[in-house]
Symmetry: C2
Subunit: 211 residues, 2 copies
DNA sequence: GCGCATCCCCCTCGAAGGAGGGATGAAGAC
DNA sequence: GTCTTCATCCCTCCTTCGAGGGGGATGCGC
């Protein structure tokens, strides 16, 4: 009679305290074991190559290489890699980007042990794991159109408070073109003005505030 | 020869995982002990009354009663209460509000055990604990003026993307007065337009995005 | 061919923002 | 008591900017 093999886990989060919590939570669970910890995306990729864990528990928003970039890189190295994304945010765009990058699961940081442990087992076993509330957000996302790369460029400048002319200079286009992009942005996000566009984009996780 | 008495700690954070991390970190340290956990501000006040811990380790941003509200309430109950604020954010306003509410220390969530444990000992012993990078942010804050309550009302409506007339109706004042407040806001935050005002206020932690 | 992203231009009108001018009431200094 | 300060409120004039309505052009992928 053989015991089932342990699930070897790589924990990735930029906050030391969160890593301690995850490790404590996981290592008290029979059948699960943390084999490595990374404090950022670059280190996550390196440790993945060195350790080849059965599952990566990855924070989404980190300074430097983000969680979904790291996930993409890891899945290029090993298409069968299993990634469970962990995030404090439930913005539509965050969730979509995580799954797009190849994560098989998405768990919110407000999760308790009873939420997290089954998610780990499920993803390690090759199944997908999307909590109901997350799935709902993902569906609601489809109700508005996808922004183009250029529109997101403009949006980022908008969030810095630049005027149309300034954005035009920065992006090397004419003010007219900037206004055209802005028109598309307002239409796609279904908002009335630039301020609403910025707050809507921040809430949905399309852009972030630059420090 | 008597051993020094244990420091009894109440841990407050809305994220279960973070609480696990903090408890694991603290309980492995001799002389420190977690005697209670709260997942929000209301529960924190209740548990403080029941447990009378030597120190409260409090998350700043929580849904419902925030960390600084809870701190204020706790210090009304016991002026000698010791609170160490824990925050993921280093916005000037967050730091100032925490100290204003009566916290004796402020530690960032990116802190490691080596950062956190001395902070706990210091605050429990009645000393103040402000990391250098936090103190720097606090000083830079003094370089711009304090907003009035009404200006912050207007700012919150601005962040929702409302026009001056809409803000005026909402707050029950004339559009002219709204524009006056806006002028003060722009001057005090030293920005050129409403969009910059919103992003600046978000970065400094003066306002938050409403979900 | 088509669709789509990107780019450029014109016009119009209302909103935003910058400059003034005041009035009131509460708080604190003297 | 007065005087000052400050937050709050209201108003006018003026200029620029933002936003929405058109019209096109190019290049790319399918």
């Amino acid at each position: 009679m053989s015991t089932p093999p342990e699930v070897r886990i790589l924990v990735v989060d930029d906050h030391y305290i969160v890593r301690v919590g995850l490790v404590a939570l996981i290592n008290t669970e029979p059948g699960l074991k943390v084999v490595g910890e990374a404090d950022g995306g670059e280190q996550a990729v390196k440790l993945f190559q060195a350790l080849r864990p059965d599952l990566v528990l990855m924070d989404l928003r980190m300074p430097g290489t983000s969680g979904h970039e790291a996930t993409r890189l890891i899945r290029q190295l090993a298409a069968a890699a299993r990634v469970l994304m962990l995030s404090a945010f439930d913005g539509d765009e965050d969730i979509h980007a995580a799954l797009e990058a190849g994560a098989q699961g998405y768990v919110l940081k407000s999760a308790t042990g009873e939420d997290l442990i089954p998610a780990i087992h499920a993803v390690a076993a090759g199944r997908r794991w999307i909590p109901r509330e997350v799935a709902t957000r993902l569906k609601s996302r489809q109700t508005y159109e996808q922004l183009t790369a250029r529109e997101i460029d403009v949006l980022n400048q908008l969030a810095r408070g630049l005027a149309n002319k300034e954005i035009a200079d920065k992006l090397g286009i004419s003010e007219y073109t900037t206004k055209d992009h802005l028109k598309s942005i307002l239409a796609k996000l279904r908002v009335a003005d630039r301020t609403q566009a910025v707050t809507a984009a921040l809430q949905r996780g399309i852009i972030r505030l630059s420090p």
